[in-house]
């Protein structure tokens, strides 16, 4: 634990320390990896309620008569499909269709949009997007001014009602509410990264501590637990949600990652489109697929070798012990010829190979998000 570099802190840093969180360096941020324990927090979210600090993530705002057209030329999904108050998952690609970042774009007004991007990519995304900026579009990085709290779990809707009673009705899945609360603008989206029902709240940074403590206090009757990045990772991996930097990179495309449904190739133009069309025509050589260990094994982790018929065919990009399934799980880019459900593979862990099987997405199917 020799964190000599100066780590960035979210507005909730002191609250995490006060709650006894174990803090780690996450992409240059001092973040809580766990409070009571990863499995305990994971189970709280699957079975009840948890809250995560996601203030490290970035918030970009854009508006103007051509903001929609500009975004549609930069992002893979079709922003035109969004009504005001709706959001979509999408990709920011480089010219060869490699993933710069995966993000959510929210249409918060007729000509205004909020984007939530990965913490480690804030500067790169902003520079890339700004280098393509055009007249008639305003574009701002307000990541430092906003905090983010993710309330996740099947009891999230009850907590929402406890806060707002009849004042606001809950946004539907993939919708966002802009509300004035305590005299401030809060964005409350029905989104998340866990597979459970939940809300992501973006509020002014100076209201982060108050919001966090209000949520913990009001959430107490629903058994809420503060949750760290450790549980966030096991929850998202059970759902096969990719993590940029592990499962996505500038060397991989959304087609290879099996996420084509978030790419609209019918759009006349967006950065990376030509490369994607070519890849679609020629067929991909590898695909990102989830796997499950078939026997007791050490937990798989990223960068473990994957074998088929004694040949190394890939490396894992993510891995963990699934607290819900109680067995090792992970993901890897597998050559297309083997990237089939029920295909038997082996994962090499400390020089020994353990059997695994390629599975269908998601690995956990009972999440309340799909309810």
């Amino acid at each position: 634990m020799s964190a000599h570099a100066v780590l960035k802190q979210t507005p909730l840093h002191d609250e995490h320390v006060r709650l006894g969180a174990k803090m780690v360096d996450f992409g240059g941020w001092s973040m809580p990896v766990q409070y009571s324990g990863i499995i305990d927090e994971h189970n709280a979210v699957r079975g009840g309620l948890g809250v995560f600090d996601i203030s490290h993530m970035g918030q970009f705002f854009t508006e103007g008569p051509d903001a929609l057209g500009w975004l549609n030329d930069l992002l893979t999904n079709n922003v035109e499909r969004l009504a005001v108050g709706e959001c979509q998952y999408t990709f920011l690609l480089n010219d060869s269709a490699g993933v710069i970042d995966d993000l959510i774009v929210y249409r918060i007004g007729d000509t205004s949009f909020l984007m939530v991007v990965n913490a480690a990519k804030i500067d790169e995304d902003f520079a890339w997007m700004r280098s393509h900026l055009r007249d008639g579009v305003e574009f701002h990085n307000r990541s430092d001014q906003f905090a983010g709290l993710a309330v996740q779990g099947p009891r999230s809707a009850q907590l929402f009602d406890a806060f707002f009673h009849e004042k606001f009705s809950r946004p539907a899945r993939n919708e966002i509410l802009t509300v004035a609360f305590d005299g401030q603008t809060y964005y409350i989206a029905r989104t998340g990264y866990t597979g459970e029902d939940g809300f992501e709240v973006f509020c002014p940074a100076k209201y982060a501590v108050k919001s966090w403590n209000d949520i913990l206090r009001k959430g107490a009757e629903f058994g809420i637990k503060p949750c760290g990045l450790g549980a966030r990772d096991t929850l998202r991996l059970e759902m096969c949600y990719p993590l940029n930097g592990s499962d996505l990179s500038p060397e991989t495309t959304p087609i290879e990652a099996g996420l084509s449904i978030f790419v609209d190739l019918h759009k006349p133009h967006f950065i990376g489109r030509e490369a994607l069309l070519r890849q679609k025509q020629e067929g991909v050589k590898r695909r990102l697929v989830p796997f499950k260990m078939t026997d007791t094994s050490p937990p798989p982790r990223s960068h473990y070798a994957v074998y088929k018929d004694n040949q190394k065919i890939a490396e894992t990009t993510s891995g963990t012990l699934s607290p819900t399934l109680k067995i090792g799980i992970g993901m890897a880019y597998i050559p297309t010829e083997f990237a089939r459900i029920n295909e038997q593979i082996e994962i090499e862990i400390r020089g020994k190979r353990f059997p695994a099987v390629i599975e269908k997405k998601p690995l956990h199917r009972a999440g309340s998000a799909s309810a």
Binding site: I38, I39, P298, L321
Partner: protein, 134 residues
């Protein structure tokens, strides 16, 4: 954190309980708390000859794999097979049912190299900054 008085400690957070030349080894309460949620233990091999400071097995939490080092030289005489089915014993009872292996100690004078409970308590309270591993 619980640091029993009757044990010796390595700076890498293993404890050693000695009964003559018969030693028992596990990891400290502090170490298990840092790891949390032990989900897999790769036990050493009975009969293996090991030297003090040698990596002999691996304890894995959800988040990370941690190497476990022998605090003393000797021959491993037994391993705690109960950890295979219930690795969380390391969390729930690190100085009892969560023991990892037993060792026939060869060089008794190596005990001098280990930390007393007072010294180990000082280390984990942030004093010395020593200690790799867990």
């Amino acid at each position: 954190m619980n640091v029993p008085e009757d044990l010796q400690y390595a700076s890498t957070h293993e404890w050693l309980r000695l009964d003559g030349a018969d030693g028992t080894v596990g990891i400290s309460d502090h170490a298990q708390a840092e790891l949390t949620d032990v989900v897999y233990v790769e036990l050493p091999k009975t009969g293996a000859q090991v030297t003090a400071g040698q990596q002999v097995c691996v304890v894995e939490s959800v988040k990370a794999a941690s190497d476990i080092y022998s605090p003393i030289s000797g021959t491993i005489t037994a391993v705690n097979d109960a950890l295979t089915g219930n690795p969380a014993l390391i969390n729930t009872d690190p100085y009892g049912e969560g023991w990892i292996f037993k060792i026939k100690v060869e060089a008794g004078e190596e005990i001098e190299e280990l930390k007393s409970p007072v010294q180990y308590r000082e280390q984990i309270s942030g004093g010395s900054g020593e200690g790799e591993g867990v």
